[in-house]
Amino acid sequence: MSVTQLPNEHYAALISADKSELPGHGLAWLNSLREKASNEFSDGGFPSPREEEWRYTNISPIEKSQFSLATKAGAVDADFLQGVLLDDCHHLVFVDGFYQADLSSVGELPEGVVVSAISSGLAEHEGLLKSLLDSVVATEVLGFINFNTALFTDGAVISIEENTKVDKPIQLAFISSEGADLSLSNCRNVIMAKASSKATVIETYNGVEGSCYLTNVVTEIVVEPNANLSHNRLQAESLKAYHMGGVYSRLDKNAIFSQYNYTFGAVLSRAEVHADLGEASDCTMDGLYIGMDHQHIDSHTRLNHEQPHAISNEFYKGIMGDRSRGVFQGRIIVAEDAQKTDAKMNNRNLLLSDHAEADTKPQLEIYADDVKCAHGVTVGQLDDTAIFYLRSRGADEEMAKNMLTFAFANEMVERIELQPLRIKVLEQLLKRFPQQGMKIEWL
């Protein structure tokens, strides 16, 4: 049951403001979609911690900060951009919520494959956007999603043609510029992997360190029969920023979907990853989150096993240092018809300080009788025996602890097959452990 809460004056004014500047304003179907979302947001506002699904994450700092939509993209330093872009990818770059054609390089794509920004490609791909927009999101608490639907300024439209493989990964780079302080970027992505296609999409989120902004992003994904989509998200926002992100997906029969979620940035963040699993589909959800200082990182996952014979494997790991807090809420729902489901969920947390906190809440709801479901969670400290062992071989205490912390994260890093992404994740990891002698070669 949802708990009604009105948006504060600032956001109420934002949502009811003139939308004629937003893309697709002339389209009746889109106007009515935005209108509906605006009305729902006006009635419901942002989620409150009284909602069960938001119990551990209080977004009141976002309400208090009164972020406003950026009106145009700020300048991005060339070196900064270089640090964000992954080698050997098709790139779409968005700055402060607006597509930047001059910074992007889509390059050559196989026939029938669409990789476009909403703002520039709407006329050509309206049908695609219309069929996907708001088609996959299904959650009880829609506050941020409604806000996104009502006000999205841009985003990516991706469609992979049937029986087609896109060799290079597609990177969607979302950047907040230096001038983006107190601004809000609101992008919406839709991704369609048509039958028997194969592709990799990487979303990255970066901002200039020290600046305080809000990213509110929603990605909707459809994976058609026998298609294979790998979706990765690297969140490395400024440590003063706020990030609310959602990935909502639908897997058709025999579809394969792998979602990898790496969270390092933002003072307060949440990533929702939801999947509805069709018959005999195969879903992987892996995550790594690392919190330092006062960071609050919320990973919220849901696997709806709706049809028989589907497989899901979920593995999230978190490291919380200083006064940070990590939240993991993972829910698996196995419907009555979803016989022969095979679902595994695992969440492991490492606490590096007495003031750090991890809240982990696995939930299994099983309505079918012939299924395999397993879940495990742990919250722990570094193993004293292992520290002693390393020290007895000549590693000093700090080095021993760093090695073991790295080793804990390494299990997730090792799974990253894409070399350019792996390097970026390692860079983030190293940034968080700048102590003496930390080296990439340790991993």
Partner: protein
């Protein structure tokens, strides 16, 4: 090299070592034998510096310095090495990196430059061959998924790479079949050196069939109840530890 004087140690109020006196000279091999619960492993952990033990009396001198005042890593840098009875698995840290970091830590302490990667790998591979270890172990996580025998071999490999001056081996023979025992013992024998001393802690005589000790000490109920030459180990093997208990009782 090592001098233990009237060492008393308790854990949670219970006295485990009740006045140990031992002197180990350069190049000597000492075996410490004793039944389960006699305090053998406690002694090895005290030498390596593990937390959780209360040293109530006595002192330990290593080359004239107070060993008990040194941190775990300082002891390693100074040349103390404990081969664990149960080597610890460290998932996520590769054997090669671990060895390299450990060796360079010790070299740095001794004012030596870091070994470059090529020289290091060449040196380690040679030592692995001696221990009949497959090179693939270098790239696996430290001890993770190793069999009991592989873990023990890995301990001896670390020892031969780090070249300590005092080697304490805690039940190194346990979990080894006869082939592995021979290989491990040969590895240890290769390291024997006039400048290097060994303390072999063992329940059974069988390791001593391959590594001949200069001295044997029998530990029981937290005390050294008898010291002698290699023949003492054979005597124990024949008569069992019940004989020690009788001796203590009388």
């Amino acid at each position: 090299m090592l001098k233990i004087e009237d060492l008393h140690v308790s854990v949670e109020g219970k006295e485990i070592l009740k006045g140990i006196n031992l002197e180990i000279g350069k190049g000597e091999v000492h075996a410490i034998m004793g039944p389960n619960g006699s305090g053998k492993s406690t002694l090895s952990y005290i030498l390596a510096g593990r937390d959780g033990y209360n040293i109530t009396q006595g002192r330990v001198l290593f080359n004239g310095k107070d060993l008990l005042e040194m941190s775990v890593e300082e002891r390693a840098w100074a040349g103390v090495f404990l081969a664990f009875q149960y080597p610890v698995e460290v998932p996520g840290v590769s054997n090669i990196y671990f060895l390299k970091a450990a060796l360079n830590g010790i070299r740095k302490f001794n004012g030596l430059s870091e070994l470059d990667a090529m020289d290091f790998i060449g040196m380690v591979k040679g030592k692995m061959k001696d221990l009949d270890m497959d090179e693939k172990f270098l790239y696996r996580a430290v001890n993770e998924g190793f069999s009991g025998g592989e873990k023990k071999r890995n301990e001896v490999l670390q020892m031969s790479v780090l070249e300590p001056t005092l080697c304490v081996l805690d039940e190194t023979d346990s979990g080894l079949d006869i082939d592995a025992l021979q290989i491990v013992a040969e590895g240890i024998n290769r390291l024997r050196d006039p400048e290097r001393s060994f303390v072999l802690i063992t329940h059974y005589q069988r390791l001593l069939d391959y590594i001949k000790p200069d001295f044997v000490h029998v530990l029981a109920h937290g005390r050294v109840v008898k010291s002698g030459g290699p023949e003492l180990a054979l005597e124990l093997e024949e008569q069992g530890y019940a004989w020690v208990d009788q001796k203590v009782a009388s």
